[in-house]
Amino acid sequence: MDEAAAEIGLDPFEIRRRNLYSPGDVSSLAFRFGTCAQRECLEAVIAALKPHEKRPRGRGVGIAGLFGPGGGTRVHGNSDGCGAILKLEDDGTLQVITGGQEIGQGGTTIIAQIAAETVGVPYSGVRVENSDTNLMPWDLGTHGSRNTFVAGNAVVGAGRKLRRRIAEVAAELLETSVDDLVIAGGRVSVHGAPHRGVTIAEVARAAHYRNNGSLLIVEHFYDPPTEEPGPDGKGNKSAAYAFGFHGAEVEVDEQTGEVKVLRLVAAHDIGRAINPKGVEGQVEGGVAQGLGFALIENMFADDGTLMSNLQDYKIPVALDVPEAIETILVETRDPEGPYGAKGVAEPGIIPVAPAIVNAIADAVGVRIRDLPATPEKIVGALAARDGRR
C-alpha cells in the first residue's frame, strides 16, 4: 500500500483513507460487512502516532490495516456451530457446559460473564466446564477468533431458555405471571415489588422437590448465519467482521540493522469489549506474536529436521516487546454478536508485521520483503542500496 501510494503521489495515510470499507459494503469475495469502524480505527492510529512529526534520523513510522472474520468462519464444511448446556443446581450455582474450549485466551471468563448476564445470576455463582471432552457438547474449536462470538451466542441462547424456565417456576411460587418477573443478581422478584421475591436457589429446589419435578437444564446450539464460500472463494463466510489498524514507530541502527520497536498503537473494532482487560491482553499477545513474525521467528531445517528447541527457534520475550503497546478499543455493538461483541484474537497479530516493515522503510528507506526482517537483511539491503555490495 505504501508503495502504491508513493507511485501515485499520495501519502500512505491518505491512500488508506480513500480505500476504506464502510458499514453495508460488500467485498469482492462477497463478504457482507455490517458494523465496520475501519475509519475510526485508522484515524485513531494516525492521531496517536503523529506520523507527520519530524523525527530523528533512523526513526520511522508505519501503519497497516486488517479485516478478518469476527463472527465465526464457515470454511470447515457444514458446521461452524457450538453447543451449550446450562444447568441450575439446587444451591443456585449456574453450571455452564460448552464445547468452546479455553486455550489461554480468557474464554472461560467471557463465557461466565455472558452466562451470568443472560440468566441474571452473579458472576461468582457461575461454573464453566469447557475442557472435559466426556461432557462437552459439539464445537468446531477455539480458532479463527470465534470463541466469544460462537460459544458466547450458544450460551446467550441457552441462557434465555433457562431464564424462561426459571421464570415459569418462580411465577408459580410468587403467584404472578411470567412476564411480571425480574431476574437479577441471583434473585427473582415481582416487577415493581422487589420485596416479593425468591432466590434462584429456592426456584431450583422448588423444581426438584415436588411430585413430577424437573431439572432446570437447557441446551442451545448456535451456528452463525453464514455461507460456505464456493469454489471461487466467494461467500459471506462470517457473521461479523473485525477491523483494525496498527501503527508502529521504530528505531533502526543503520550499522547493525537492529530494529527497536518503540511504540505500537493498535486500534480495533471489537464490537463490544465484554471484558476490556481481557481484550487488551488479547491484543497485546497478538502484537507480541506479530512482532515475532516480523523480526525474530525463523523456521529453518537442519538435515531435514526442523529446529527442535527454543534455544535456536527464538520467540519474543518481554525484552523484545515494546513497553508501549497502546490499545484503542472501538465499540460498534454488532447486532449478531453476543452483547454486541465480535472476535478479537487473530486481528491483534495480523497488521503487526506490515506496520513494522513499513516503519523500517520509513526510517531507513529499505523495504524488507522476506520475513523475519533480521538485522542482517536490513544491513544487506542498506549496503545494496548504497552500492556497497
Partner: protein
C-alpha cells in the same frame, strides 16, 4: 540403563581424590546447568559425577586490589554482592546478562569458565580484566590466567583431575574506562552472538593502555595484544579505532549459523569493537586531566 555414581565430597581434598581415582570417567558438577544439558542430550559418557555442592567454595573477599571469588559462587549471588558491585561493578552488570534468573540462581562462575562455551558473556570480560583461576588437584595447586584457560569449543587447558576453586579478578584502576557490548540480533534474551569487551586507560590525554576481547566469535575469546598496542600513546580517534576494529574483524573465526552469517558477524565485530572502544574511552578518566 547405565548407572551413574553421584559423589558429594565435603572437602576439596576429597573431591580431588575422587577425580584422581576415576580419571576421565568422572566429571565435576558445579551448579549443574551445563551438566544437565549434556546428560539430556546423551553427551556425557562418564561413570562418576562429582558434585561440589557440599564444599564451601562460594566466599567473596577483597584484598590487594583483587576480588577473590569462590568458584561455586552463583551468578546471581555475585550480581548482588556488595564487594563485586563496589570494586568491579562491570562484572555484576555482565553476569546479570547471562541467561535467565533461574539459570543465574544456580549457575556458578567457576562452572561458567570450565564449561568453556564460546557464546557466553563472562569469559571475555574476565580475560580483559586479567583474571586468573586457581586449579587444585592431588598434585598441587596452580594459577592459570583466564587468557590461557580456553583451548577450543567447550575445551579448557585443565587436566581431568583438576578442580577450579577460585577466580581472582583484579579490579581495573578507578580511572579506567570499561565497556561490554552483548550483541543479540535475534531476540534480546539470547546467548551473545558477539560479546565485545574494551578496557581503556588514559594518560596525558592519550591512551595509556587498551585491551579488547571479542567473545563468541570463534572457539575461544579473541584478544590481539599486538592490535591493542597500536592504540598505546594515541588519542583514540576514528582512524586509530578503525584500524584496531578491522584487525579483530579479520582475525576472528565466526561461523555462519541461524543467528547470522560469517560475513555479517565479521562486519559487526568491526562495528562493535569500534563502539566498545569509543565507549570505554569516553568513560576513562585521564590520570592527569
Amino acid at each position: 540403563m547405565k548407572t551413574l555414581a553421584y559423589h558429594r565430597p565435603a572437602t576439596t581434598e576429597e573431591a580431588c581424590a575422587l577425580l584422581a581415582t576415576f580419571g576421565g570417567r568422572a566429571r565435576v558438577m558445579a551448579g549443574g546447568t551445563a551438566v544437565s544439558i549434556l546428560m539430556k542430550e546423551g553427551l556425557l559418557d562418564i561413570d562418576h559425577l562429582v558434585s561440589l555442592e557440599r564444599i564451601p567454595l562460594d566466599a567473596v573477599t577483597w584484598g590487594g586490589g583483587t576480588l577473590t571469588i569462590g568458584a561455586m559462587a552463583t551468578h546471581q549471588a555475585l550480581v548482588e554482592h556488595p564487594l563485586v558491585r563496589a570494586h568491579v561493578p562491570m562484572l555484576a552488570d555482565v553476569l546479570a546478562q547471562v541467561a535467565s534468573r533461574r539459570v543465574r540462581n544456580v549457575a556458578t562462575i567457576g562452572g561458567n569458565l570450565c564449561w568453556a562455551e564460546a557464546a557466553s558473556d563472562p569469559p571475555g570480560l574476565l580475560m580483559a580484566l586479567d583474571a586468573r583461576v586457581v586449579a587444585e588437584s592431588v598434585r598441587g595447586r596452580r594459577e592459570i590466567a583466564v587468557r590461557d584457560l580456553f583451548e577450543d569449543y567447550f575445551t579448557t587447558t585443565l587436566a581431568h583431575d583438576e578442580i577450579v576453586t577460585q577466580v581472582q579478578v583484579p579490579a581495573p584502576a578507578a580511572a579506567a574506562g570499561l565497556s561490554y557490548l552483548k550483541f543479540t540480533p535475534q531476540s534480546k534474551a539470547d546467548k551473545p552472538v558477539l560479546a565485545v569487551t574494551a578496557l581503556v586507560r588514559r594518560r596525558d590525554g592519550g591512551c595509556e593502555n587498551a585491551v579488547v576481547v571479542v567473545g563468541a566469535a570463534g572457539p575461544t575469546p579473541l584478544g590481539l595484544p599486538d592490535a591493542d598496542a597500536l592504540l598505546r600513546g594515541q588519542r583514540l580517534d576514528e582512524p586509530a579505532i578503525e584500524r584496531v576494529a578491522a584487525r579483530y574483524a579479520e582475525a576472528a573465526r565466526p561461523v555462519s549459523d541461524t543467528r547470522g552469517s560469517e560475513a555479517y558477524k565479521r562486519q559487526m565485530i568491526r562495528v562493535l569493537v569500534g563502539r566498545a572502544l569509543r565507549e570505554a574511552w569516553a568513560r576513562a578518566r585521564s590520570t592527569y586531566e
